[in-house]
Amino acid sequence: MTPRVGVITFPGSLDDKDAARAVRIAGADSVALWHADADLHSVDAVVLPGGFSYGDYLRCGAIAKFAPVMEKLVDAANGGLPILGICNGFQVLTESHLLPGALTRNDHLHFICRDQKLRIENNTSAWTSDFNVGDEILIPLKNGEGGYVADEKTLDELEGEGRVIARYLEINPNGSRRDIAGITNSRGNVVGIMPHPEHAVETLTGPTTDGLGFFSSLLKSLVNDGKVSA
């Protein structure tokens, strides 16, 4: 059976169609999930897409965490469901305390859209298993509040447990502590990443197809976990 990957749309989500497209290109079915519908419709994984949920007024991701679907999502995350938060989705995950730390205003104060080089640091999470540690990939980054911060203890913990999944290379585009571009929870099912893998899945529209690795990783982990058959 083809895996079914849910993509949540909040009011103000922008990259939901793109995330769904990436899911399809990777070979899964995409299932649209609606913020106000407290039901995950038995999907095998969930993507929280980029954008400006609720306008990102107040703080990025702060209002989205109160959406009805989020309560279900938090339970599912604790139950091991693979969840990928991209950009605004990452912000929602930290606001919901599914991932530690917070994302703050870029140190240079500007929104920045650029093709960003990353180094993959972890290939054991549900969303990075198809990479090798040390792989260098190039995918778009676009955010105004992408500076990853956490206290030193948390940062040390993330490093110590190998939970930094990707780091910025060449340029730290937003002042993230320790060049962190993405992290995972200790179980490895919940991943947050600031750059946009879903914008690097076709040569025509992205700088590379390096982003596909995140989605193919998911498919691989679902097979490995016996969630779906190969």
Binding site: Y54, G55, Y57, L58, I63, F66
Partner: protein, 81 residues
């Protein structure tokens, strides 16, 4: 050393989309009875030395030109001791 606090608020007649978003969010999380929310900015300035009238005038000038946009915002300056 002195601390000066400059509060900047949107003029009452100007739309505050952030405040509006918060009002609806409050409704969703179950705090009723909030009629309105306005979101402003607060600048906390740490100033070397004492604050005299000349310095205060200068800070007022800065508040009205750099820290706020008089076309859409009002501000207040307070010295915190």
């Amino acid at each position: 050393m002195a601390i000066v606090v400059v509060d900047v608020a949107l003029k009452p007649e100007i739309l505050d989309p952030q405040g509006r978003a918060i009002v609806s969010a409050l409704g969703r999380v179950g705090l009723s009875g909030v009629a309105d929310v306005r979101q402003g900015k607060q600048f906390v300035l740490t100033i070397d030395g004492e604050i005299d009238d000349a310095k205060l005038a200068q800070i007022n000038e800065i508040a009205s030109t750099l820290l706020s946009n008089p076309v859409i915002e009002d501000f207040t300056v307070q010295v915190r001791r």
